[in-house]
Symmetry: C2
Subunit: 467 residues, 2 copies
Amino acid sequence: MADVWADSGLDLHVLLDPRRKVGSLEQALRAAIDDGSLVAGTRLPATRALAADLGIARNSVVEVYERLLGEGRLESRVGSGTWVRERILPQPSPSAVNRSTRFELDLRGGLPDASAFPRSAWLAAMRQALAEASSTALGYGAPEGVASLRTALAEYLARARGVRVHADDVVVTHGFGELLGLVAAAIAARGGRRIAVEAYGHGSHREVLAAAGLEPVPLEVDGDGAMVGRLHDIDVDAVLLTPAHQFPTGVPLSTPRRAALAEWAAKTGGIVIEDDYDGEFRFDGRSIGAFQSLAPDSTVYGGTASKALSPAVGIGWGVVPASLRDGVLAQRRRRGAATDAITQSALAVLIASGGYDRSVRTLRTRYRARRERLEAKLAEGAPDARVLGLAAGIHCLLELPDGVVEAAVVEAGAERGLRFDGLAAYAADPPTASSRPPTMVVGFGAPPDLRFEQAVAAVIGSIDAAR
Amino acid sequence: MADVWADSGLDLHVLLDPRRKVGSLEQALRAAIDDGSLVAGTRLPATRALAADLGIARNSVVEVYERLLGEGRLESRVGSGTWVRERILPQPSPSAVNRSTRFELDLRGGLPDASAFPRSAWLAAMRQALAEASSTALGYGAPEGVASLRTALAEYLARARGVRVHADDVVVTHGFGELLGLVAAAIAARGGRRIAVEAYGHGSHREVLAAAGLEPVPLEVDGDGAMVGRLHDIDVDAVLLTPAHQFPTGVPLSTPRRAALAEWAAKTGGIVIEDDYDGEFRFDGRSIGAFQSLAPDSTVYGGTASKALSPAVGIGWGVVPASLRDGVLAQRRRRGAATDAITQSALAVLIASGGYDRSVRTLRTRYRARRERLEAKLAEGAPDARVLGLAAGIHCLLELPDGVVEAAVVEAGAERGLRFDGLAAYAADPPTASSRPPTMVVGFGAPPDLRFEQAVAAVIGSIDAAR
């Protein structure tokens, strides 16, 4: 038997017996259709081309096709050739599909409005990036990312977030999560063991840190943000913080605490990882610049295109101090992930053209309106629940009325198609989980505009049902 | 001091003293221009808008702008506003740019022809993918990848490579390198310790395996491929192989060895990682199907869009047996990398539309012509050098004439702007590195068509100079 590749039309991989090519072609095609190797809807090569490829008479191929047509395995479409007959395509089974789709409205903290993704601006940026790309730019990329994007990000972050940055300092990653893992692994590789994390935050971040070899140590959070004064006592090598808008409690890190944090870093050589996940989205015009500018040599500033564009872009970035840069890039090589240079080049064009800023402004206006609408509706429908947290970002806290517990609201929400969590679900340890009155984290970014009223009504309904 | 965000036009982050807003605006702008936070070529907000944002008189803003214009920090362009004056943008410094750019012609093994990337087909696929994408598709993606791409890949791999696969089995990754690291980490997590690797191969793959916790153990390679009969003796939990076209020696794994490999996996429960990096690119019409079909429950089949499209797409895939799937996905979550769902959706459209097949066929024709041209030119210009390896892929071996050593050819090549390596550079250990006659690995994929003749002439010149 020899393996033969028909080059005519679609690639077709069939095993042929050179002593009886026609018979084995027929058998191979039948078997491939039956076992799904050739799926329904596949167009077969033209008989003339296939015959030439295989070195057999065209008539023989026609006869093979006709027998399979007769068996119902193929179908002929006038003017467009011969196809494997339509059956059901092998879609991933429902259980394997993202489970969140069984919820109609996702109000978990941190989800942006994906329907706002600027599709035509993205496409235009992609077109320009591809038109300008050299062959080198389409080859294997450098682990630190594409130069044009690093330059565009340096300009943007300095301008919009007050980051002290040169393009050389920027490392582009597959989202903030990858950056976090790389930085943690680099700190662990040079002997670090423990990292402070805010007592409330993303459980997935704590998992990434632990997997990279650092033990997460919770740091209490109050109305002034993380209690960084405790850093001196808990003996950590680094700290992960959300200074602009503590996630999810919603408070900014106070000015005195920023100063204390910079002092801790300077004194101990500790590293601050600043997760600036929604720094652009402050609604009251009083933005808080990045903490990084107070301690650029000790801070890894991290951000993402997930909020201002879409998580589906899959890009994040870090501004990494010189002392950690080689370590972070070494970790990136060890993990083997490829550089998505085409996407990075398109994002560079979008930022340089002002399209990224436009998306930020559009979303800021939209989120501000939603936040106001949410507060107004709640004041009407659940006046004994309290909205907490800065007028910023895409989530807020909702302190529940007396006697209403988080679990009951989560359950009542699920019955109404809502997916959201109580504050305890974001706690780093059991003492934290029981330290505040029952409170929900309400993300108002994700539902499409058209369904926003419905989402708010469902939140109120869930609270009422849980009373 | 209060942080103020000017919302008018570009985001502009400046620190203002509320008691003397105008003076502090002037100071802040001057400092931001001087320290590069506001880079040259940035357009400032219109005076009217900025004044409204800051709550000061428009005339005051005009005066501030005029003073900075007078100082040469700003420039005014008729009809288009006020700009930070052109200086040199902070490009990444040359040392940080991919060092390979100092070579004019890159002939390292495994580099595809990036100039062949089907830009307009990619753009059309991107357009269609964005037009069809639901909001859910633009949200945070599932770690196993986008459903439409998993379905398209399952259909393609079954058809073109004879892989036994259902869409549920497919995991989409950031290139083959990430897949390799994830699979190795999953094997290590369930107690695996050692993995056999071909004695010749990519050093970066061995590094990824070691970083994931598996010790790479070299397995000799001869004219029938890797000597898999030795697997029983060397006590490994898994083996990484290139069965279709051993990299870089260029031989396929023989049929008896395939059978022996399947038997080893069945008997020991060992895992085979099949790196099918260029399986589509066989020039003689005698394709070799994926090994995976002989042992689907024990084999991780891995592939990539890097060769048929471009490394800059940044996508690879694995067909992962059920016993490893949860482990691989758990490792992916622990590493924190985001899903590039937009790119994945575009690739799904490209494959489903036949565009991916077209790119494979175009490149196969091009690479076949190059391989023939290379052999013909070498037969003329260096008749005592021998071309070895299958008529396939994008590289071959070139056994050097008697008395010529690899290092001398590498050096002579560098003087001629060539970047390529001797076979010893791909060896997993010192005994392997000295086991064969001096031989170069010549990648013929990367040089653009227009410069291919020049590249071949430079190879011949380098051999002559090293005699």
